[in-house]
C-alpha cells in the first residue's frame, strides 16, 4: 500500500448515505443509481485514483494510460495468473493499410475494415464504436510496436476480411502483448493483484461510482472465498473483466442452445459475475445472445488447442473443408465465423478440414515440423498418404472427395473459385502432394459480442437515462456493440486496446470526488 493510501486508510462515510431512502430522496437525477445504489462502506481500506478490474488487453491498456497520466492505480485480477483470454489468445490484430500489406502490394483502408465488420456483424454493430475501432486499428498496432515493443512477424488472412490484414505476433499468442504490457506497468510501479475478485461496484446515491468491494485471496470459482476489502476510487473505476464464454449458466440464459456441456476456447475465469454486478448498479446489457462459436476447433482436444492455427492458417487458404457424408465443400472456407460455424453445425459436425503437404508448408510457416508432431501425438491431426486413405478413415465417399479436389484444382488453375467465391492467395497451388493432413471440425464457444453499453469515450451508460454513469468506464469483451452479431477475427485485440486506453485516460482525467 502506498503512503498516500495509508494516509487515507479508514476514511469514514456519513451515516445518512447508507440509508437507501435518504439517498433516493437526495439524488433525484441519479439515473438508475436511485434504485441500485449501494451502502457506501463505513470505512475504505485503501484509496487510489483509479481502480482497474481485469488484466487482459483492455485492463492493462487502461492501467497503462491512467498511470501515464499520473494516477495511482489498483489493478485487480481474480485468477492466479494475469492475462485472462488475452494471454491465451491467437496473437493476431487487424491493421488495415499497414506497411506489411504495402510490401505485398495489398491495398486496404480503415473504410474497408469497417465495411467487413458491419457485414459480419449483420449491421447490428453500434456504428460509432465500430468506426472508431476501424479507424484506430492501424495506429494502435503501431503504438504496440513503439510503446510496448511488441514484435510481429506475419500477415494473416482471417475469415470475413476482404484481404490479408492481420498482424501476427511473433510470440504466436496474446502473451506477445500481455507480457510487454505487464513489463511497462511494472516499470511504473504497478503490479496486478491476482486472486482479487470484484464483488461489488459501489455506486452512490448521487449516481457516481466511487469504489469497489473485493475479496482478496479469492479462490476460483468459489465466489464466497477470500477476505473482503473496500477500495476507494477517487477518480474512476474501469471495468475490463472480459466476456462470459466460460459461464454455461449465463450463456444459456442468453441463448438456451449454448449452455451445458458445450466446450469453450475461453479461460476458466471468463464468467459473468462482474457483468452481473454492473447490471446491479444500473449498466445496460446489450446484444447478449450473440455468442460466437469458433469454426476452427476440433472435438479431439479440449478448448482452443492447436487445431485453429492449422485449420485457419493452412486449410482455409490452401486446403478444403468437406462434409464427410457427401465428400463435398459446404461453405466458403474463408467466410466469417458465424457463416462457417453455422454451416459446420448443419453438417451435424461431420466435417473435416484438410491440406496437402505443400499447403501445410505454406500455411504453417516456421516450427511446422515440431507442431505437426505435437498435434499428431495429441490425436488432433491425422496424416494420410492418399485421398483414398483419408476418405476411408472418415467414411467419406472416396470418388466424390476426389472429384471435389479436382474441381477445386481446376478453379485454382482458372484463378477463380466459382463455386464458393473464396479468396485465392497468390501462392496457391493444386492440392495434390501427399501426405494429406486433416482435422475434424466442431465449433466451440469463443466470443461474447454482447455486454455493457458504452459510448465512444468508454463511459458505461445508465439503463434509466442512457447517459454516462459518472466514474464508471468499461472496455474490452465485457462491453457490447462494436462487433454486432459476429466479431471478425483479429478485431477484438483492436477493440480491447483502443477502448482500454480511452477508458484509462478518461478515468484518470475525472475530478476526484470528496
Amino acid at each position: 500500500m502506498s503512503e498516500r493510501n495509508q494516509a487515507t486508510h479508514g476514511l469514514t462515510r456519513r451515516a445518512v448515505m447508507s440509508s437507501g431512502l435518504a439517498v433516493a430522496a437526495a439524488a433525484p437525477f441519479a439515473g438508475a443509481a436511485a434504485a441500485a445504489s449501494r451502502a457506501i462502506p463505513e470505512t475504505w481500506d485503501e484509496d487510489v485514483d483509479v481502480v482497474v478490474i481485469g488484466t487482459g488487453f483492455a485492463g492493462l491498456a487502461a492501467a497503462h494510460e491512467a498511470a501515464k497520466a499520473g494516477a495511482s492505480v489498483a489493478l485487480l485480477e481474480k485468477m492466479r495468473v494475469p492475462g485472462g483470454n488475452s494471454i491465451i489468445s491467437g496473437g493476431v490484430i487487424a491493421a488495415p493499410g499497414s506497411p506489411m500489406q504495402a510490401e505485398r502490394g495489398i491495398e486496404d483502408s480503415a473504410d474497408a475494415l469497417y465495411d467487413d465488420m458491419l457485414a459480419a456483424g449483420l449491421d447490428l454493430n453500434h456504428r460509432a464504436l465500430a468506426r472508431l475501432v476501424a479507424e484506430k486499428a492501424l495506429e494502435t498496432v503501431m503504438w504496440s510496436i513503439e510503446e510496448l515493443g511488441a514484435e510481429y512477424d506475419g500477415l494473416s488472412h482471417l475469415g470475413g476480411h476482404a484481404v490479408p490484414r492481420s498482424y501476427a505476433l511473433a510470440a504466436g499468442s496474446g502473451a506477445g502483448l500481455v507480457v510487454p504490457q505487464l513489463a511497462r506497468l511494472e516499470e511504473m510501479g504497478i503490479e496486478p493483484r491476482t486472486r482479487t475478485l470484484l464483488k461489488r461496484l459501489v455506486r452512490d446515491g448521487d449516481g457516481r461510482v466511487k469504489g469497489v468491494e473485493v475479496h482478496e485471496g479469492f479462490s476460483h470459482p468459489d465466489l464466497d472465498s477470500g477476505t473482503p476489502r473496500a477500495i476507494r476510487a477517487a477518480r474512476g473505476v474501469v471495468l475490463a473483466t472480459g466476456g462470459f464464454g466460460g459461464d454455461p449458466a449465463f450463456r444459456a440464459l442468453q441463448d438456451p442452445r449454448l449452455g451445458g456441456e458445450l466446450d469453450t476456447t475461453n479461460h476458466p475465469g471468463a464468467t459473468s459475475e462482474a457483468l452481473r454486478e454492473a447490471l446491479n448498479i444500473g449498466c445496460v446489457l446489450i446484444q447478449p445472445s450473440w455468442i460466437q462459436l469458433g469454426p476452427w476447433t476440433s472435438p479431439d482436444e479440449r478448448g482452443f488447442g492447436m487445431a485453429p492455427t492449422f485449420v485457419q492458417g493452412a486449410t482455409a487458404s490452401y486446403g478444403l473443408w468437406v462434409a464427410t457424408e457427401t465428400g463435398e465443400r459446404f461453405v466458403n472456407e474463408l467466410a466469417d465465423r458465424k457463416t462457417r460455424a453455422d454451416a459446420i453445425i448443419r453438417t451435424g459436425n461431420r466435417a473435416i478440414a484438410f491440406v496437402d503437404a505443400a499447403g501445410w508448408r505454406k500455411g504453417m510457416g516456421g516450427n511446422a515440423g515440431e507442431r505437426r508432431q505435437r498435434m499428431k501425438e495429441t490425436g488432433v491431426l491425422m496424416e494420410y498418404d492418399s485421398l483414398d486413405e483419408m476418405a476411408a478413415a472418415h467414411d467419406i465417399p472416396a470418388e466424390r472427395l476426389k472429384e471435389t479436389v479436382e474441381r477445386f484444382n481446376a478453379a485454382v488453375a482458372a484463378g477463380e473459385d466459382e463455386a464458393w467465391g473464396r479468396y485465392l492467395p497468390q501462392d496457391i497451388a493444386p492440392i495434390d502432394e501427399p501426405p494429406f493432413y486433416a482435422v475434424r471440425l466442431a465449433p466451440k464457444i469463443h466470443h461474447t459480442m454482447g455486454g455493457v453499453a458504452i459510448d465512444t469515450e468508454a463511459h458505461a451508460l445508465d439503463v434509466s437515462t442512457g447517459e454516462p454513469i459518472p466514474g464508471l468506464f468499461a472496455a474490452g469483451e465485457v462491453t457490447g456493440g462494436v462487433h454486432g452479431a459476429s466479431r471478425l477475427g483479429s478485431c477484438a485485440y483492436a477493440d480491447c486496446l483502443i477502448f482500454g486506453r480511452i477508458a484509462g485516460r478518461n478515468a484518470a482525467a475525472m475530478e476526484p470526488w470528496s
Binding site: 495468473v81 507480457v179 476458466p268
Partner: protein, 223 residues
C-alpha cells in the same frame, strides 16, 4: 543432532516451500546449472539445514522421456546439494504418529535424508514419491528450511519463482530438460512468463496440480 524436536518439526514442515540446493555444477553428463556459488537461500541456516547428503552418482533413469526428464531435474537439484554431514532425517512415524504413512514392511527411514528415500524411489524401482509426499517434505528432507524460501517475513508469503530458480536453475534450463516430454514441454508454455510460475503446478503444502489441465488434456502429474 537429528533436527528439531517433534513439535517444532511439524510447524517447520508446515511452512516450507521450494527446494533449496545450488552450488556445484552437476555431476557426470547431467545438465549443468549455474555452478560455483552457494545457494543464497541457505546462508545463515544451522548446519543441519545447510547440509545434507549428496546423491549416489550414475543412476540409470532411462524409462521414457518423462521419467528421464524427471530424473534429470532431480539430478540438477541433488547434485547441487552441499556435502553431507548431518542430514535432516525422515523419521516419518515420528511425526505421523498412528497414521499409516508407510507400508508396514517398509524399511526403517529414521536415519534417512531425501537422498536415502531416492535410493529406492527414483522412478525406476519404486514410485518416485510424486504426489505421495508433499514437496515441503521433499524440501525439508533435503535440508531446506522454511526461511530458505520464505525469508523472515511474518506471516510468510509465497516466494517468487526467482527463489526457486536460485537452486533449480533458470526456467530456460528446466525447459531444456523437459524438451522431449510428450505431448508438450510442461516448462515451455506459449502463454508467456505469467504462465511459467513454478507455484502454478508445484504446490508445496498440498498436492501439486496440473495447471495446464484448466484448458488442456496433457495429462501431467507434476511432482
Amino acid at each position: 543432532m537429528a533436527g528439531p524436536g517433534r513439535g517444532s518439526r511439524i510447524a517447520v514442515v508446515g511452512l516450507m516451500l521450494c527446494l533449496g540446493a545450488a552450488a556445484p555444477a552437476s555431476a557426470g553428463d547431467g545438465p549443468t546449472i549455474s555452478g560455483g556459488t552457494a545457494c543464497p537461500a541457505r546462508a545463515g541456516q544451522p548446519a543441519w539445514v545447510r547440509q545434507s547428503a549428496v546423491p549416489q552418482p550414475g543412476r540409470d533413469f532411462a524409462i521414457g522421456a518423462w521419467a528421464g526428464a524427471q530424473a534429470d531435474l532431480l539430478q540438477v537439484a541433488n547434485a547441487a546439494t552441499p556435502e553431507a554431514s548431518e542430514a535432516v532425517t525422515a523419521d516419518c512415524r515420528g511425526c505421523h504418529e498412528g497414521d499409516a504413512v508407510l507400508p508396514p514392511d517398509h524399511v526403517a527411514t529414521d536415519a534417512m535424508g531425501m537422498d536415502g528415500c531416492r535410493a529406492c524411489h527414483d522412478g525406476t524401482q519404486a514410485s518416485d514419491l510424486s504426489g505421495l509426499i508433499h514437496l515441503d517434505h521433499t524440501h525439508y528432507l533435503a535440508g531446506v528450511s522454511c526461511a530458505a524460501c520464505h525469508g523472515e517475513a511474518d506471516p510468510p508469503k509465497e516466494p517468487d519463482t526467482a527463489v526457486c530458480e536460485t537452486c533449480h536453475g533458470s526456467l530456460e534450463t528446466l525447459a531444456r530438460l523437459t524438451a522431449d516430454v510428450a505431448p508438450v514441454n510442461p516448462h515451455d508454455s506459449p502463454h508467456g512468463t505469467p504462465y511459467a510460475e513454478c507455484s502454478l503446478c508445484h504446490l508445496q503444502h498440498r498436492r501439486s496440480e496440473d495447471f495446464c489441465a484448466t484448458c488442456h488434456d496433457f495429462g501431467f502429474d507434476p511432482p
